[in-house]
Symmetry: C2
Subunit: 121 residues, 2 copies
């Protein structure tokens, strides 16, 4: 049971927090820059709370620069989460294989019906 | 803003639910089989609640077999979640590149110090 993994997934389970990560993937930003797009929809304390969740999960780090304190994205927890998901890759690939097989059957049936229809003409 | 994604991540943010998915990756199982390993630690209603979260997120589906109703793992939401993570791959690869570069510098410095030490002898 990996508690870091729970913390990472919980942090990612929110569109505001994912949007913050998307912003940080463009480059470092300070809190007020990060807050700007959300200020119409929510209060500054709500925004800081989201940032704290991301920070606690290790997804962002605040640099020590006292004057500016920019945040930056930290990819390591995402790597762990992706590694966890990778175990299940067979399950989504398998379902697409099954879909693919199904579509092939349907297309084949359609083509055969088309031919028998032509023959009847 | 993708709400399905939030639902998937929220469902994965719990070690019991991840353990249930791990069990289902071994093959279909009915609710009582899935519940068994957790019955000492939690109540049956708590277990069913976890299963409902997984089902609502589309990570498991209950088959229609009225008598047995086995659950099975559904990989599609995991595929979407992995695709979302993939955008950030550069961030974890970059941090490992940086670590790698750092380790190379440290090793080089150590080697150089060793040599100067040898020369002093």
């Amino acid at each position: 049971m990996n508690d870091n993994l729970s913390q990472t997934f919980a942090a990612l389970a929110d569109p505001t927090r994912r949007a913050m990560l998307a912003r940080l993937s463009q480059g470092e930003a300070n809190v007020s820059d990060l807050a700007k797009p959300f200020l119409k929809a929510m209060s500054l304390p709500a925004i800081t709370k989201h940032l704290k969740v991301l920070e606690k999960a290790g997804l962002i780090t605040k640099t020590k620069d006292a004057q500016w304190r920019p945040c930056k994205l930290n990819g390591a927890p995402l790597k762990d989460a992706t590694n966890w998901m990778e175990q299940y890759r067979a399950f989504w690939e398998e379902s697409f294989d099954r879909l693919d097989a199904y579509l092939k059957t349907v297309t084949k049936e359609k083509r055969m019906k088309g031919k028998s229809h032509e023959r009847k003409k």
